[in-house]
């Protein structure tokens, strides 16, 4: 078995996609010769030439808008936003066009565009480099939002995203880029729109995604020592949500905790709580609780560990849920 990292798995997925389909183009800031600041596009320009993988001027709106034009033409652009916090200049193109055009044009213009965004904190980065903007995209009807938590999913889900005829926001948990696993690529995991139970349990369902899956899993291990059995569900697709898997789990455990780095108010936990109590009201033995970042701007790097949810924050809620 070879070992690979998330970053490497994504790189391999792009390489395979480009080799298979000439219409796949990769572009963004510094994705060419530099290979991206996280090296996810490393070597693609050398392998496929400057016409398939290229650098752009410094404008995220320019990148997404140009990609929309290329998608209209018939290409399948895979574009990189260098960091979560620099996606905002492209907001209008994403919300007013990418999300709406297929519906507006009655399906005559599909936009098979993948928007890759490294997101989340935990790498000690400077201001604006650790945002968790998923709520903005999940709330925007018309977008599909995936986020892998493992190298295998990185490979498989990115392939599914690029091959989908729907526009996909592909959120890459940057603090897990260097997580190693033993795996042989190519690999095919569960369909991206499906949530996956990463660890079965009976007391509390813990819903998480991207950077927080590993955190939730270690919380589950720690909880075991306290005699609590946590079921850890990796959502994988944030839009659409795999409601059936979610409800099935809560129905069995009767308790739910949602974990995410994003600020609590209108973070994904809000939607999960709303849906769970809508559909599993009579199964709930405790309120759905949320282990999340706080409702403040992302703090400086040296304080981020206090801001980000960790095992303790999850376990505090487990205790609370079990006591309810």
């Amino acid at each position: 078995m070879a070992t690979t990292t998330l970053a490497k798995a994504l790189n391999t997925a792009l390489r395979d996609l480009m080799a298979e389909d000439e219409r796949v183009l990769v572009f963004g800031e510094d994705v060419g010769m530099l290979g991206g600041v996280f090296r996810v596009t490393d070597g693609l320009q050398a392998a496929f030439g400057e016409e398939r993988c290229f650098d752009t001027p410094l404008s995220e709106s320019g990148i997404v808008g140009t990609a929309i034009g290329l998608a209209m033409y018939g290409y399948r652009p895979v574009v990189e936003m260098q960091f979560d916090g620099f996606t905002y200049p492209a907001f209008e193109q994403i919300v007013s066009h990418l999300a709406k055009l297929p519906n507006r044009t009655r399906g005559t213009m599909r936009l098979p565009l993948t928007l890759r965004i490294p997101y989340g904190g935990g790498i000690g980065a400077v201001e604006h480099h650790s945002e968790s903007p998923e709520s903005y995209w999940v709330h925007t009807a018309g977008l599909t939002v995936f986020t892998p938590a493992t190298p295998e999913d990185g490979y498989s889900m990115l392939r599914e995203a690029v091959r989908s005829d729907d526009p996909v926001v592909f959120l890459e948990p940057k603090r897990r880029y260097w997580t190693r696993t033993e795996t042989e690529l190519p690999v095919r995991t569960e369909p991206a729109r499906q949530a996956v139970v990463r660890r079965a349990g009976t007391d509390v369902s813990v819903f998480c995604y991207g950077p927080m899956v590993a955190t939730a899993l270690s919380a589950a291990e720690a909880a075991e020592e306290e005699g609590w059995s946590l079921e850890v569900v990796d959502l994988r697709s944030l839009a659409p949500l795999d409601e059936d898997t979610i409800i099935d789990s809560v129905t069995r455990t009767g308790r739910a905790i949602v974990v995410h780095e994003a600020s609590r108010t209108l973070g994904l936990g809000a939607e999960l709580a709303a849906r769970i109590q809508e559909r599993a009201f009579y199964h709930l033995e405790a309120p759905v609780l949320r282990a999340t970042g706080f409702d403040t701007p992302y703090p400086p790097a040296k304080l981020e560990s206090y801001w980000l949810p960790d095992e303790d924050r999850i376990l505090d809620l487990v205790e609370q849920a079990m006591a309810a």
Partner: protein
């Protein structure tokens, strides 16, 4: 230091010369290097499309007044710019409109009864843009310029000889997206012509509050592309300049900017009250520069348009207006559940549940509550 000396040698460039072949009185400047030497037949065709445009435009306003359309942005006065550009299009070229491009859309054969539904408030893009090479109109100002750039880049990468026309208004030139589009197109040599209809206003904001640039054509310099300015009410000049720009683009020489000087004779849209911000005198002056009148004068001076031909055009325009009217008047709004169509190729259960909710609501409307 000697403060007088070094100030702005080439910043205060003279106003970029405005290419004009046909003046408001119908006099033709055959000596201009831009003379495209169009045949009388072509000129008469141009005349015809301008008249058709004006008539259909008027019909849209009528339909709006009669409550058939929700709102409509008239192109009255801009027919010269639009038909001039239309006649410059190659067979593969695409137009990426803002929202005021009735003339271009008519010329490209876009079914008006379908597309005007957008102004009616129903599905307005019920035709395939690929069939007519006319992209969806774009209301968020300036955004379409990037789509035009990306599409053109696609054509270049694909080895097709195809250029795109990015239609933008004078106001649009202040947006970040038009800036990015020009920057990207120039660096990537995307075959795009940025066609600015400078109609002097962005709703109520006049050009001098929009930019301090000497002309909008000057902006091309900062992107490293050629920029020309033409009399947009001179259909021949606009045609010549846009054609040249498109030919260059298709030949791989990169993008260009064309500023067509025109004037929006109507309100911004039917919802607007222009008396609040511009004078009757200004309008009177603008009327003298009408694009149709001057071409008609030229044609008549060349005996290239007789009474009967002119009458035929009028009749065709009436027929076209009637057709558009018939296609729109009291047209159905569509099945409400179509709201859910085409949002996703890969739709999931939850989404379909909402469709079902609407279906149930529709079914229940007659019975339940009140």
């Amino acid at each position: 230091m000697n403060l007088d000396a070094p100030d702005l040698p080439d910043v205060e460039l003279a106003e970029r010369q405005e290419v004009q072949l046909l003046d408001p009185d119908g006099r033709y400047d055959a000596d201009s290097p831009w003379n495209p030497e169009l045949s009388d037949d072509t000129l008469r065709e141009m005349y015809r499309w301008m008249v058709l445009t004006r008539r259909v435009d008027r019909e849209m306003i009528n339909l709006q007044r009669q409550g058939q359309l929700g709102v409509y942005p008239s192109c009255l006065g801009q027919e010269g710019a639009q038909i001039g550009a239309a006649f410059a299009l190659g067979e593969q070229d695409w137009v990426f409109p803002q929202y005021r491009e009735l003339g271009l859309s008519l010329y490209l054969g876009v079914p008006q009864a379908a597309s005007a539904h957008l102004w009616r408030g129903t599905w307005g893009l019920g035709y395939d843009p690929h069939e007519f090479r006319f992209a969806p109109i774009s209301i968020p100002i300036g955004t379409q310029a990037l789509h035009a750039t990306g599409f053109a880049l696609g054509a270049r990468l694909d080895g097709r000889s195809l250029a795109t026309v990015a239609c933008v208004g004078d106001g649009a030139t202040s947006t970040g997206d038009v800036h990015a589009a020009m920057t990207f197109a120039a660096v990537m040599r995307a075959p795009t012509v940025f066609f600015i209809q400078n109609n002097r206003y962005a709703i109520s904001v006049p050009l001098e509050k929009q930019t301090a640039a000497p002309t909008l054509a000057h902006k091309a310099i900062g992107y490293g592309m050629p920029g020309w300015r033409c009399d947009g009410n001179d259909v021949i000049a606009t045609h010549a300049v846009v054609r040249h720009a498109l030919e260059r683009a298709r030949a791989g020489e990169g993008p260009a900017l064309v500023e067509a000087m025109t004037y929006r004779m109507e309100a911004h849209t039917t919802s607007d009250d222009p008396t609040r911000y511009r004078s009757e005198e200004e309008l009177d002056a603008a009327r003298l520069t009408d694009p149709i009148l001057r071409l008609r004068r030229l044609l008549e001076s060349r005996s290239a348009l007789d009474e009967q031909q002119a009458e035929q055009v009028e009749q065709e325009a009436e027929r076209m207006a009637a057709e558009v009217r018939a296609g729109i008047y009291d047209a159905p709004h569509g099945d409400p559940t179509e709201i859910f169509d085409h949002v996703y190729v890969d739709a999931t259960g939850r989404f379909e549940q909402q469709r079902a909710q609407l279906q149930a609501e529709l079914a229940g409307t007659e019975q339940e509550h009140r």
